[in-house]
């Protein structure tokens, strides 16, 4: 079954630079070259932002997550040992930032404001000019976000990395620092929960 992945494969995009050049850039950034770090960050910002935006409950939080990820990348860069792809390492940091965030959010859920939910709803007529259709689209997007937010943090991340970031199972396992079997199980459980939670939207096999 073909997957509805984003057109740009995140891994491929991050690894678009030739190997030697990429390695030299990392080494230069590790030596304190700010320009090199800026280029490196620029090459990975799309994947970090997409993941942050998928996990955050409002745009401000997404920007904070992305910024925290790059701050941690910068601080941890001297410890990068080329033992995995740089993009996998960045994903791992972004995932840890995301895990902290999801756990914090769960603990403070009562602090959320209705406005934060509204922030992510399309308000510019992307669903078309038909108000009923737009309202339906908004409601579906809200239901999907709510269903995703109910997943346990690691299942949520596994699903984000697979469905929305298009990562291979082996890479997801590497990012989550677990085995492929455990990552696959997390994906299975997440998908099954989403199926149960959103089942009423799927009657007849199509909306």
């Amino acid at each position: 079954m073909p997957l509805p992945f984003p057109a740009a494969d995140a891994e491929a995009a991050a690894a678009a630079m030739p190997g030697d050049e990429h390695r030299a850039l990392i080494a230069a950034a590790q030596a304190g070259d700010g320009e090199a770090f800026a280029r490196l960050a620029g090459a990975h910002q799309a994947l970090v932002l997409r993941l942050s935006r998928g996990l955050a409950s409002c745009p401000d939080d997404a920007a904070d997550l992305a910024q925290e990820t790059f701050t941690r990348v910068y601080l941890a860069l001297p410890r990068f040992r080329f033992e995995c792809a740089f993009s996998t390492w960045v994903y791992r940091i972004a995932t840890n930032v995301g895990l902290d965030y999801l756990r914090r959010q769960r603990a403070r859920r009562w602090l959320w404001q209705a406005s934060a939910i509204e922030d992510f709803e399309p308000a510019d007529g992307r669903a078309g000019t038909n108000p009923e259709r737009q309202a339906l689209s908004t409601e579906i997007a809200r239901r999907v976000r709510r269903a995703l937010s109910r997943l346990p943090a690691r299942q949520r991340l596994a699903f984000e990395l697979r469905h929305y970031q298009g990562l291979r199972l082996a890479t997801i396992a590497e990012v989550l620092e677990t085995s492929e079997e455990v990552a696959k199980n997390a994906l299975f459980r997440a998908t099954r929960k989403l199926r149960a939670d959103l089942g009423d939207l799927l009657e007849g096999g199509a909306r």
């Binding site: 079954m1 910002q45 935006r53 994906l187």
Partner: protein, 298 residues
């Protein structure tokens, strides 16, 4: 391949996680089984739904401009840390500024509305403080409005204020299945019944769950939560009420008999007996014997 195996395989197939042989076996099964084929179609629709919903939220891929204010020469880590923290990520398509933009906006909030999360002082005299803000907002709207219902659903899970949880349930429960996000209300009530420390809230949750119990095919999670409350809730009033609510579920007689058999609490057994009697079912003779032998107090 059984249908059960096929359903599991279909879930893995949705995320393209089946190897060739498993995929071939699944395809062969679905070719011969209309129900599994239909489930496959639903899962494909789910994959599309999940992708389209995210696209509807995100719009076009964010155009990103990063302004890195980094040192050109290596600097001691204690200084580099906070230079890095001051990186500003400016993102198009809906994102606001970075942390410092957020922080400066928050700094205008009244004292008492901030929650400091961490302090970093290794780069003295410059320090970094990370904090969250709570913005206050209010809403006046009919309880039938979507926004009011969303807020009430949040209030049902308020961790510190049982009165607020009760009030939110009091307002939402009469709407029952007519609430805009009825499954969310049902789940919140089930969670309250299972986990809320306040017996008044658990009783109110039971009351709110009544419309879902009486449906022709009630949610198994709901029935399980009711059975658990009936058998194990620390409050006898909640237990008795849970038995009473459970009794209104279609086909609950078998469950009531099992509950009565397994419980060590005579009052729960009596509640089950009363519910069975009300349904016109016979009360197992050994329940009467057990209660008589224990003097009705086990």
């Amino acid at each position: 391949m059984t249908c059960r195996d096929a359903r599991n395989a279909l879930i893995l197939d949705m995320e393209d996680l089946l190897d060739g042989a498993a995929k071939a076996a699944l395809d062969a099964h679905c070719a011969a089984c209309a129900a599994c084929a239909q489930e496959g179609a639903r899962l494909r629709a789910l994959a599309t739904l999940l992708t389209e919903a995210r696209a509807a939220e995100s719009g076009a891929p964010a155009r990103v401009a990063v302004a890195w204010r980094l040192p050109r020469a290596p600097r001691p880590l204690w200084r580099a840390a906070w230079t890095a923290a001051a990186l500003a990520v400016a993102v198009g398509a809906g994102f606001g500024g970075g942390w410092w933009v957020h922080a400066s906006r928050a700094a205008a909030a009244a004292p008492g509305q901030l929650q400091v999360e961490s302090i970093e002082a290794s780069g003295m005299p410059e320090i970094g403080v990370r904090y969250a803000t709570l913005q206050q907002a209010s809403l006046r709207a009919p309880v039938a409005s979507l926004q009011a219902q969303r807020l009430l659903l949040e209030a049902i899970e308020h961790p510190a204020n049982a009165g607020m949880r009760l009030e939110a349930m009091r307002l939402l429960a009469p709407l029952g299945t007519a609430v805009a996000d009825a499954p969310a209300l049902r789940r919140a009530l089930i969670e309250a019944l299972r986990d809320d420390p306040n017996p008044g809230v658990r009783l109110r949750a039971l009351e709110g769950l009544q419309p879902w119990v009486a449906q022709p095919a009630p949610d198994p999670a709901l029935v399980a939560a009711l059975a658990q409350a009936a058998g194990r809730d620390p409050n006898p009033g909640v237990q008795a009420q849970a038995v009473s609510v459970l009794a209104s579920a279609p086909g609950s007689a078998a469950l009531l008999r099992r509950l009565g058999d397994e419980t060590r609490d005579a009052s729960v057994r009596w509640s089950c007996a009363a519910a069975l009697h009300q349904q016109g079912d016979a009360i197992p003779a050994d329940w009467l014997t057990a209660s008589a032998a224990s003097g009705g107090n086990e």
